[in-house]
């Protein structure tokens, strides 16, 4: 950055989500605020009341698009943002709320709300990238704070973020874990799930449940055959794929293939 230039403006936006990813950012918010020459936290309602108008140099977007109003709002955010990075399962895949994409949303509305007439919602919960172009997607439910730090750091230092897109197995083996599937017969989504979490679940002797979403080249049909071989029923295979990234390929198709 040339001397005297204004620092880049960071904005953080929330759509349909649980705020967990923003909390990962709050973990190192002090470090961001301590660098006023490097970055200006211009819009981050979870952290600061004050807001500074756009345009913004970097927008982090949490949450999925579930309402007509949000569909408009994300377009405005995109217009205001030089770089737009989506963070978390909701923003990158539609999130847990994308389970509704497999059912009739009107049924939910009439079951849940006393006055359904006030509800204005879309049929589907969709990833931000299904609505506007995005510059980078950071997967995870929630995102890993070190990875989020890396994305921001890469942006500020004008380099490519070092975010691996291979499987959890690579991290799991590096961590020195004994494979829970091979040695214990535990069903694990690690081979089709993107690294980034540090293989937390297999390190605690349980199978990966896919919260970091599909890896770069997942072969879900083969993993499903292996899961069946371990005795996992179809209904549970559907559940495995249909948690955090239910509507993201190939988890979406694999879930449908095992539905009866």
């Amino acid at each position: 950055m040339s001397a005297g230039a204004a620092p880049p403006k960071l904005a953080v936006w929330k759509f349909a989500s649980c705020d967990g990813c923003q909390l990962s950012l709050l973990d190192f918010e002090q470090e961001l605020i301590a660098l006023p020459d490097q970055i200006e936290v211009a819009y981050f309602l979870e952290a600061t009341k004050g807001t500074i108008e756009g345009p913004y140099d970097l927008s982090l977007v949490e949450g999925s698009i579930t309402t007509p109003a949000d569909r408009e709002r994300i377009r405005e955010v995109r217009r205001q943002s030089a770089r737009l990075v989506t963070i978390g399962a909701c923003a990158t895949s539609g999130g847990i709320q994308a389970l509704r994409n497999f059912a009739d949303v009107d049924d939910f509305i009439s079951t849940v709300y006393a006055e359904p007439g006030y509800i204005s919602t879309l049929e589907d919960s969709t990833a931000i990238s299904a609505n506007v172009p995005v510059d980078f997607e950071l997967q995870g439910c929630p995102v890993d704070r070190h990875q989020l730090f890396e994305v921001i750091s890469a942006f500020l230092n004008r380099r490519r973020p070092a975010i691996p897109s291979y499987s959890v197995c690579v991290e799991c083996k590096r961590a020195g874990n004994v494979c829970v599937t091979v040695a214990h017969g535990t069903p694990c989504l690690g081979p089709v799930t993107q690294a980034g979490c540090g293989a937390i679940c297999p390190s605690c002797d349980r199978g990966c449940y896919g919260c970091f979403g599909p890896a770069e080249a997942p072969n879900a049909p083969s993993l499903s055959r292996q899961l069946s071989g371990l005795g996992v029923e179809d209904v549970d295979i559907v559940r495995l794929y249909r948690t955090f990234h239910a509507d993201r390929e190939p988890f979406r198709s694999e879930g449908i293939a095992h539905e009866r």
Binding site: S165, Y166, A175, A183, E216, N219
Partner: protein, 377 residues
């Protein structure tokens, strides 16, 4: 040749420790045998065996009190000589704008590796060729490897996924060790010891051993012969390089790619795979940076990423890369096979893909005429 009593195993580890070695050996961890730092001989997997098959590994008990009555560990010595993650240097931009680098000192070792099987000895010598056997020497590997004391153990039983006999790497250790033990259970629990170096001789002298009787030598020979006859797998290596080169478009690659998860487990457990990535990290202010080396795998898209994209886009291209490198291109690159027949890639593949089976199918349906590589399909 000498004979070491069963009860002398603990003094042997003690003697190694006294000489300043960090002892690494087999122990039970998380339902598998793993090579880990040992503080006592009590941690050795006494009376434990492993049952390995494609995609499965289970521990079982054995009632003969054997100390090394199992086959290969879940990890390998590579985890210690070529650690999965290693900081190479840190950089700092000082107030005056000057950038200063601090090289990371490695803190491992010197190691004494206890229980190295013959196939793994061969794997170590293959990695020696890769890391220190050429004009460019990998300093970290060199410093870990240079002083490593090796106590080899000859296998008594072959595992279901073993095929060292095919690869000419076992089951009996030929050289490359300081001491080599053959565990003898009949007629008194003891070890036949072959001495491979002067320091091996010295260590053995500290522990105390007796001269081997002809019956001990004969018993050890019988153990190795028995083991060689029980190999769970077989791989025909005759002309394998040419076989794979002329079959780059064999339909079997498509078939295996239907099953292969591209998870990379086979490359990570393989004791000879050496691929790694070099990752740089910076802090937010751009004043501190760090370079870290991490195990990588040719099953990742990034591994073949060049300007414009990855060369090996398909699962077929990636599996073919792995197997062809292990069994064929390695020969052109380093003058030996890249596979020592340890069987780990078969056992630890979640979907039980078997390098010996894939090679056998291609051989059985050899297409004879050579065709060119089309890396993209």
């Amino acid at each position: 040749m000498r004979v070491l009593e069963r009860k002398s195993l603990s003094p042997l580890l003690e003697a190694l420790r006294r000489r300043g070695y960090e002892v690494i050996g087999p122990t039970v961890r998380d339902g598998a045998i793993s090579y880990e730092p040992l503080s006592s001989a009590d941690q050795l997997p006494v009376g434990v065996t492993d049952e390995q098959e494609g995609g499965t590994y289970r521990l079982a008990e054995r009632d003969d009190g054997a100390v090394f009555g199992f086959n290969n560990g879940a990890n390998s010595w590579k985890n210690h000589l070529f650690p999965p993650e290693l900081s190479l240097w840190k950089g700092r931009r000082d107030e005056d704008g000057e950038i200063r680098f601090t090289e990371q000192e490695h803190r491992g070792g010197p190691y004494a590796f206890v229980g190295v099987r013959s196939c793994d000895l061969a794997a170590i010598s293959i990695q020696d060729r890769v890391f220190i056997g050429d004009a460019y020497v990998n300093g970290d590997y060199e410093s870990r490897r240079r002083d490593a004391f090796i106590v080899a153990v000859n296998c008594a039983e072959a595992g279901n996924t073993c095929f060292c006999a095919s690869m000419d790497t076992g089951p009996r250790a030929g050289d490359g060790f300081d001491l080599a033990l053959t565990e003898l259970l009949d007629g008194g629990h003891r070890f036949l010891v072959e001495v491979g170096s002067e320091r091996g001789e010295e260590v053995l002298a500290e522990v105390g051993s007796s001269p081997a009787e002809p019956r001990d030598v004969a018993a050890a020979d019988a153990v190795s012969e028995d083991c060689a006859s029980q190999m769970g797998r077989e791989l025909e290596t005759d002309g394998i390089k040419e076989l794979l080169y002329r079959n780059v478009e064999h339909p079997r690659w498509d078939e295996v790619s239907e099953r292969c998860l591209s998870c990379g487990n086979c490359t990570l457990v393989c004791p000879t795979c050496f691929c790694h990535s070099i990752d740089d990290a910076t802090d937010l202010a751009g004043t501190e940076s760090e370079r870290v080396r991490r195990w990588d795998s040719c099953f990742g898209l990034e591994h073949s990423y060049v300007h414009g994209g990855s060369v090996r886009q398909s699962g077929k291209a990636r599996y073919r890369q792995w197997m062809t490198h292990k069994l064929a291109t390695w020969i052109d690159q380093f003058g030996s096979s890249g596979c020592v027949g340890c069987g780990r890639c078969i056992t630890w593949c979640p979907v039980a893909i078997d390098i010996t089976e894939e090679a056998a199918v291609i051989r059985a349906t050899d297409r004879i005429e050579a065709v060119g590589i089309n890396a993209d399909d």
